[in-house]
């Protein structure tokens, strides 16, 4: 039997509400403390208690920690998903199951370990009867630890962190871990999976994106948040409630901020817009359905040029969809949100460090550009545990943008109007309530207004103002975070991605290079409007694969509208089933659309395609593709 070291996945099937998350987190953290790159993802139902739930851990020595579609080791603690869990083990994999589940184990191609969890727990008299199920989860932690070699000391340190040093729960849980390990020593190991300590996580931390975003918002000087509960965004606002007192506590016990739970999302954004208008650094956080409800206010903020930050932790739509599954499906909607012409500033964090970073930058951009800034995170980043470098302190002072005090206004007042473009960049100057200068007040409205914020229905004034908004959006580019580029030697194709898919894309590129010799440069876009690096990248390749987790290829759609001259080169690789991105579908998607060509013949074809000539075989095949899209699309994959 080959030994497989530091390169496998573990999936644990339990019931939700059964307390397994402490156990699963403990496994994850212990492996992390062993210095091995690891990730953990919670695949949970939209329900409170009793339905199947899974936790999947990816261990990878090379740092590829995207979700793996195959399960190497499966722990089955839930009778309701037992059959399915067993079926999901790879041939040759390991299957650990609670032996009180009396269901047939009918696979010969895997290694099975029945675990006497119940009886082990019952042997410990210190565990109250009510808590046996809960503690039982720790037994499988111990068994797994023994089998694959998780350091028990690291488990102890994970528990100490989790229970914040309270000895009693630490002991009770650790006893169960030890008892499990103890038992496992009595059985024979027949699977190939082993862990060995490394030093690859040194100096890193682990956290989820929502908490990171909340913390960074606090460092970004947040003053006001209004929110309405919705999965997977709630924990962002709840983390604000948690950490604001700790990080912004004052000697006089007074608050420099307010977090308001609104009656719904319309009110949540309404309050945030009111606060942003009045000069507070204001935000709201929500997910898909909430964003749909914010549409009208988003348009108001755009047109009145009110700074406000809107976090959308994406879940899968349309409509209620799968509320506890991840997605990148709100991009085009956010881009075009609101009736009338508009275009949004969108930030696209790719990991928890960027959640942290954008938690700060978003306020600066919103105030600098005077417009709503949407941050599109997703459930995978927001709610799962990710490795990261420690969070740095902001490396620049707060940028409040063109905000006029009484004194500033006194200097320029002869030439000030709320919507007057003094600098040619489309961005006007603003004043805020409380400014006592007699010229400072103005009346904001979502209806037509002139440069001095006065009501008007004049066609030319309307037109000029809208053109200025376009100009402003164009100039906003310079405040956008630049894309991240991963280059390869001899890259022949380009790959574009964004958000939480980075890890999976990196892995897929690695595989494609090794397996079939496709070398690619990878550009991870971090914001709309696109910066010039995107232009440059697009010009450099003949085939550009645009990877995203949605059905319609939304980034591809937007790139086509912005870069029609490159449109013919784009290959959309879009796929979404609610689960975090894996290298598998990306690899397959790219292979499916990759065109190997001799330089000459192919460019002829491309020319014909661009010309739209009737006779060109390439062209008609492309037309056929477009037509067939409704039929086949990406559903073949996986």
């Amino acid at each position: 039997m080959n030994s497989i070291v530091n390169d496998f996945s573990i999936t644990i099937g339990t019931k939700n509400g059964s307390g397994s998350s402490t156990a699963n987190n403990t496994i994850l953290r212990a492996i992390f403390r062993m210095g091995i790159p690891v990730s953990g993802k919670n695949l949970f139902p939209s329900n409170i208690q009793g339905l199947p739930t899974w936790y999947t851990i990816r261990v990878n020595k090379d740092g590829f920690v995207a979700r793996k579609e195959q399960n190497d080791i499966v722990i089955a603690a839930n009778p309701d998903s037992f059959a399915r869990d067993m079926a999901s083990v790879v041939p040759g994999g390991a299957f650990l199951y609670a032996d009180d589940i009396k269901q047939a184990v009918n696979r010969q191609d895997i290694v099975s370990y029945p675990m006497p969890i119940k009886s082990i727990v019952r042997e410990d008299p210190s565990v109250p009867a009510d808590f046996r199920d809960l503690v039982g989860n720790m037994v499988y932690v111990g068994i797994l630890a023994q089998l694959i070699g998780i350091d028990l000391e690291k488990i102890a340190s994970a528990l100490t962190f989790h229970f914040k040093g309270k000895q009693k729960p630490i002991d009770m849980n650790f006893n169960a871990v030890r008892a499990g390990a103890q038992w496992a020593r009595t059985i024979e190991k027949k699977d190939p999976y082993h862990l060995e300590s490394m030093d690859k996580t040194e100096g890193l931390i682990m956290a989820d994106g929502n908490t990171a975003a909340a913390k960074r918002s606090i460092f970004g000087g947040i003053q006001f948040a209004a929110w309405y509960p919705i999965t997977p965004a709630s924990s962002l606002a709840e983390a604000l409630n948690d950490f604001l007192p700790q990080l912004r506590g004052r000697a006089d016990g007074k608050h420099t901020y307010a977090v308001v739970q609104a009656e719904d999302e319309l009110a949540a954004l309404g309050m945030a817009v009111g606060a942003g208008w009045a000069g507070l650094r204001a935000m709201t956080s929500t997910s898909g359905p909430g964003l749909s409800l914010m549409t009208e206010f988003a348009g108001l903020a755009y047109y009145t040029e009110t700074p406000v930050v809107i976090w959308n932790v994406q879940r899968i739509g349309p409509s209620t969809g799968l509320p506890t599954r991840t997605s990148q499906g709100d991009l085009t909607f956010t881009h075009f949100i609101g009736h009338g012409d508009s275009h949004s500033i969108i930030l696209l964090p790719g990991d928890i460090n960027e959640c942290y970073e954008f938690g700060w930058r978003a306020f600066d951009i919103a105030e600098r550009v005077q417009t709503p800034v949407f941050v599109l995170s997703d459930l995978d980043i927001g709610m799962n545990q990710w490795m990261s470098k420690p969070f740095p302190h902001p490396n620049a002072p707060m940028d409040r943008g063109k905000l006029l005090t009484e004194k500033d206004l006194e200097q320029i007042k002869s030439n000030w109007g709320r919507y007057l473009d003094r600098d040619g960049d489309g961005i006007p100057y603003r004043t805020i309530p409380g400014n006592k200068h007699p010229a400072s007040a103005y009346f904001t409205r979502g209806s037509g207004h002139d440069e001095y914020a006065r009501y008007t229905e004049d066609s030319n004034v309307y037109l000029k103002n809208m053109e200025r908004l376009r100009r402003k959006h164009y100039h906003a580019k310079k405040y956008m975070p630049k894309p991240v580029r991963h280059s390869a030697k001899d890259a022949s194709v380009g790959v574009i991605g964004y958000g939480s898919t980075e890890a999976a894309i990196l892995e897929a590129r690695h595989i494609l290079a090794q397996e079939v010799g496709i070398h690619s440069d990878f550009l991870r876009i971090r914001a709309l409007p696109f910066t010039e690096d995107v232009d440059t990248f697009l010009e450099q390749f003949d085939q550009i694969f645009i990877i995203e987790m949605n059905r319609d290829g939304q980034m591809d759609q937007i790139l086509k509208t912005e870069y029609p001259q490159h449109a013919a080169k784009f290959r959309s690789v879009a796929y979404q089933d609610g689960l975090p991105a894996s290298a598998k579908w990306i690899r397959e998607g790219i292979l499916e659309k990759f065109e190997k060509r001799k330089e000459d013949g192919s460019s002829n074809k491309r020319r014909a395609a661009a010309r739209g000539e009737r006779t060109s075989p390439r062209k008609s095949s492309r037309a056929a593709t477009v037509k067939a899209r409704g039929k086949s699309g990406t559903s073949k994959r996986k």
Binding site: E263, L280, A453
Partner: protein, 351 residues
């Protein structure tokens, strides 16, 4: 604001804030001649002037409608936000956090508040934001040309709309059951009472609801202009465009109403509202009494006017949030960004 203000006469009286009444005015009104909303704007100007409030210490808010346009017509020197239909409360709630020392004045219509805005209206009551919430109530949608609002009485008949089949919303009763801390009603045609109630509401800390009946001279009438005059009888079909608005004067009570008095007031369309002033000795601190008289009034089809309920014991929203002394929107980076050293604390919180 470069909007020119009406000229202040050389000898105009100056109040304790050092301002003349003109300093409280806004742009000229574009509402219909005789619209009750204009008279309310005037009383807002007077009340603030007489109370010596500095215009800079106020923020004004509105939704969408003829009524919601009116903040343009007072307080040019005050920041204001003409927001979305039915959403004034949330904008005001957020904005008022910026400076707990400033007072909000919100103007809304009955459609804006009781139709589309019902949810936000009810929830801002619960929160007790420091806002004078004025509803210029005419029972119709003025700006969209005369459809029923949610305060239109059941059975009301309007041209093009037919008969209203639904029960009306009683704004004061709604405010009361949502625990508003100040609830009053008046009639635009009774400017003196409007002004007195405005002053009381401005002095109140917390949410103050002022439901002011403000007849729409143009649309809340049975027949349109063509019908009520010389040739009316011969012309029975509705005109599909209400394009002509006969000049009408605002309805103004000739004489102040006494306490406890009941008076019928004819509207432009010939229908009546029945106003009833609160009794002498009525105790507005008694919530039960308030419910009782509102119920009685509903049964009798009276519109109770006066201060119906007040509770000065509840903290305002910003008080509940225990904010720092100075305005929140004047804080600087030093106040808002945790120190460098805090970073370690943050990272330590992580695994």
């Amino acid at each position: 604001m470069t909007e020119t203000l009406p000229m202040a006469g050389a000898s105009a009286p100056v109040n304790l804030a050092g301002l003349t009444k003109n300093d409280y005015r806004g742009a000229p009104s574009t509402l219909c001649q005789g619209c009750g909303h204009n008279s309310i704007s005037n009383q807002i100007i007077s009340a603030l002037f007489e109370m010596n409030v500095a215009p800079e210490d106020v923020m004004k808010f509105s939704g969408i409608g003829c009524s919601s346009k009116s903040p343009t017509y007072f307080l040019n020197r005050t920041f204001g936000f003409n927001s979305l239909h039915g959403r004034m409360p949330s904008i005001a709630t957020g904005a008022l956090f910026a400076n707990a020392h400033m007072k909000g004045i919100g103007v809304s219509g009955d459609g804006d508040t009781a139709s589309i805005g019902m949810g936000q209206f009810k929830h801002v009551m619960r929160r007790n934001a420091n806002l004078v919430y004025i509803i210029e109530n005419n029972g119709v949608y003025g700006l969209t040309k005369g459809q029923f609002s949610a305060t239109a009485e059941k059975g009301l008949h309007l041209k093009k709309q037919g008969e209203n089949p639904y029960m009306p919303v009683d704004i004061c009763l709604e405010a009361l059951v949502s625990n508003a801390t100040f609830v009053a009603r008046s009639f635009a045609g009774n400017p003196k009472q409007v002004k007195e109630l405005l002053k009381a509401s401005l002095a109140h800390e917390g949410i103050a609801v002022l439901d002011i009946i403000s007849p729409c001279v143009t649309f809340n009438n049975q027949e349109n202009a063509f019908h009520s005059y010389a040739w009316g009888k011969d012309h029975e079909e509705p005109l599909h465009e209400i394009s002509y608005i006969a000049p009408r004067n605002e309805i103004i009570l000739e004489r102040e109403m006494e306490e406890g008095e009941i008076r019928e007031v004819a509207l432009h369309d010939g229908s009546f509202v029945v106003l009833k002033n609160l009794e002498k000795g009525y105790d507005p601190a008694n919530r039960f009494e308030a419910l009782r008289i509102m119920e009685e009034a509903q049964r009798n089809n009276w519109l109770i006017t006066g201060l119906i309920y007040v509770d000065t014991s509840k903290p305002t929203l910003t008080t509940v949030y225990n904010l720092v002394e100075g305005p929140l929107n004047q804080l600087t980076e030093a106040d808002l960004r945790p120190a460098y050293s805090m970073m370690d604390k943050v990272n330590a919180l992580m695994f």
